[in-house]
Amino acid sequence: MNPVALPLNYNLVQLLELRACVFLHCCSSSLHFTKLICLFVCLFCSGVKDGKFTVLQLVEALGSSLTSSQPHTRARGVLLLSEVLQECYRDLTEREVEVLIAFYENRLKDHYVVTPPVLKGLKELTKCTNLPPGSAVSMLRSVFQDIHVQVRLSYCCTFKGLGADFVFGFVQSMDGERDPRNLLLAFQIAKNLIHRGYELGKFTEELFEVTSCYFPIDFSPPPNDPHGITREELVQALRAVLTGTPNFAEFLLPLLIEKLDSDVQSAKLDSLQTLAACVSQYEHKHVAEFLQGLWTAVRREVFQTSSERIESAGLAALTALTSCLSRSVLSSDSEDSLSTFLDFILTDCKHHLCEPDLKLVWPSAKLLQAACSASTSASHIITAAVMPSLLEQYNNRAQVIETADVHMFNWFNIGLFKYGFSVDEVVLTCRSLQRIAEQVQDTEEAGRCFHNIIIPHLLSLALQAALQGEKGSVKGLTSFILRHQNSFNLNLLSITYELTDFHPLSPEATTASRAVSLFLDGDVSFLPDNSFPSHMQLLKQEGDSWSLSRLVCLLMGSVCSLPRSVEVPQIDKLLSALEEMSCTCSHPLSYTSAAKCFAGLVNKKPQGDSLDSCACPQVSKALLLRYHPLFTTLTDKLFSLLDDAGLGPMAAADGFSLLMSDSTDVLNRACHADVRIMYRQRFFSENKAKLVQGFNAAPQEKKPNYLKALSNIVNKLPKQVQVTELPALLSLLLEALSGPDQDIHLTTLSCLEPVLVNPPQVLIQQLEALVNRLLALLCSPAMSVRIASLSCISALSYFPVLPFRARVLRALAKPLDDKKRLVRREAVQARAQWFLLGSPGGR
């Protein structure tokens, strides 16, 4: 645009100058400045675009304002120019651009109020497509050198279009920089470079070099620093650069490994934190070749650390690294980096777990746990490798398991629970938890650990399994959980710290109330996994599906082992729901558990409340144990059942067995049940007359029921009682021995045996009958009966039985040839004893 060539009606330049003067005046007063400047900008822009004058001429015309002594005036001048450039940059020639750049760069050295417009102008200039070579670099250089920090940042992101040249320029300009303000900005720019997808190209390594030479940051701010830059800011800024792209991985990882070797704590910490940050962006191919080195370094830090910060940074780094490896998609060619890495870890850490006296147990466990918590696949691999030896170790240890071990074990379990499970794993876990629960030290911490973490997890697992409702594997899983969780729940609840002043918020009360609200109201809020439907009816059976109702076992475990002083919430509602369930539900496990649960609660219920209930054996037992007056009515009912044709043999007789035997699940002392002393003896002595009478009065076919009941009762009596009571019942027992029922034979024989050690007189009188019976039993089809009979005969040899010797020896010849070795062994012993009877050198 050569102004000379244009026809001019008036001297445009003069006009320009006039306008510029006006502008100058306007600049001096700040009134209405912004409106005026827009007007001027339009004027000048249209002028340039129309070719009436060039920008350079404009610059000249503005000379007076641009060289004014007032900074503000100069600023406005530059601002006007920059605004014009904003509109007209496309129309500039290369020569013009060159001049303008030089001008602007020069203006950078000016007063700080001038700087923003200058930068704006520079920004517009960079949009020019015909920038001379090297101008970007010189621009940057002057930007870096001459401008205050904060101002720079907002303008520098515009240089993107320059690509690799810019990167090169940037690298060059940054080299050797020392001022923290500049560095901060440089890091930020570099970060932007990386993040906004600049093509780093062949300058990747240079960019890395120039930034990484500052790592790790070693900076102490001078006192009274007006700029207030902290070390932490620099660290974070540099870290953002170094971790910004996977392209740096091959340089960064060796650098980190090297720096981890340093003695300076802050360097180590920085390296670990940077490592954790960088691998979150990387894939396995970036880290694969460095795995061994990284692991060695991290392990060293955790094993030998004296600082907790470094240890936790190391663990975090390990977790991040493991996550990174787990994330990778594996092609068929690539090596399984995750398992390689975990192999390193397991090789170094696993054996330490089994040496509980060395101090490396804890660090090893922490490392394993850190790796475990990274992902599902990692936790599966590690848990599968570690669990068996851990469990074996716990089994073999004679001493009590410390609380600390519970935590260690718990970590692995949490990993399992969080990341899903297979049947075998959960089975294994439950068993081990049970063992731990049995042996753990009785501390508050352990109790809390169990109640707040493990139990909700297990409950939700069981619920999940039940809700899935498939038969087969789920059934196995559920029933296993229920069977063992029951006992483990009971164990741990009874183990839990007993407070003398029972606090209503103690862990076991909390679990109980949570369980009650879960079962009665379907309240699932305390369970960790929130994907359960609300308001589930767990105490009702729905049609044929009993998968949910089975869970009443868990309720039993939660509420039935509380000390008597604890009040079970909503107990009446619970009792009636349980009663209904036990009477109406058709699934054996469900109704039995409901009955047991009911019984457990009833046993502890304070005196005086109405306890009308169905006469099932469990409830009777509950009442028997505490000797509730209502018990006698129930007992009479049971006795009357003995006469019943259908229920007599099975239910009634077994019922008596249940009454007398030790209950392993609910109604025992470990669950704080109300068990009065000598309840069995009391029961027996109060009821034996009735029993004998009933037997004598019963018709022949009902007699076996009475015998069965009798033998079940007597069998469970303490030995001393048996001995004293036996004479009264001897005829009954002899009768029992001659009946057809093998079970009765067995129970009667086992009662008899201890008595034969010190026989009462009445037995001596009945010897012949006894011998006859015993010899007859030698032909019993049941092996155990034959063996029991033989041992009784053996014991009899100490009595005055000489008259029977010949007969017995003859009779004992047959069992010598018995088809079972165990029987033969017993027969040999018995016969040898009898041979010695009355023989010289014998007895």
Partner: protein
């Protein structure tokens, strides 16, 4: 019987007792027939006491399991026992104890053959002949003092 308190073999070598037989699942199964085997016979005789020492025949290595041969199907059992010294005068007594124990412990159908391990005793032929003769054995057991000694050998000591 030796005169006085002088023992013939004052310092015998003692062997270790083998542990109890391990019970297998099939032994507890009602329907499975357990045949009589060598170990079972050995268990019968190994705890027999030695007349002189407070030790069992097993501990003195007088009886060994390898020298027990039983055949349940053919109802035969053969025992070779090894006296501790070649001129042991207790040999006959020991042999008799073994024989009596087996007579008392095995079904009638069994033919019991007890003899001295060949080459271990000076008068093994004579002893074997005596032990094989049923009438001589029966006559020996009529002798009260002999029976007493045999019974003492056969009494089980508490371990």
């Amino acid at each position: 019987m030796s005169e006085g308190t002088r023992l013939e073999n004052a310092n015998p070598v003692i062997f270790q007792r083998s542990g109890d037989r391990v019970q297998t699942a099939s032994e507890e199964d009602e329907d499975v027939h357990d045949p009589i085997d060598d170990r079972e016979i050995f268990d019968l005789i190994r705890s027999i006491n030695d007349p002189e020492h407070p030790l069992s025949l097993e501990e003195l290595n007088v009886v060994e399991q390898v020298r027990v041969k039983v055949n349940d199907a053919e109802s035969t059992v053969g025992i070779e026992f090894t006296p501790t010294i070649p001129h042991c005068s207790m040999a006959t007594l020991i042999g008799l104890s073994i024989k009596v124990k087996l007579l008392r412990s095995l079904p009638d159908r069994f033919k019991i053959d007890v003899c001295i391990t060949p080459g271990t005793h000076a008068s093994e032929e004579a002893v074997n002949k005596q032990l094989a003769d049923k009438e001589r054995v029966a006559a020996a057991l009529e002798n009260a003092s002999l029976l007493e000694v045999v019974n003492q050998c056969l009494s089980t000591r508490s371990i």
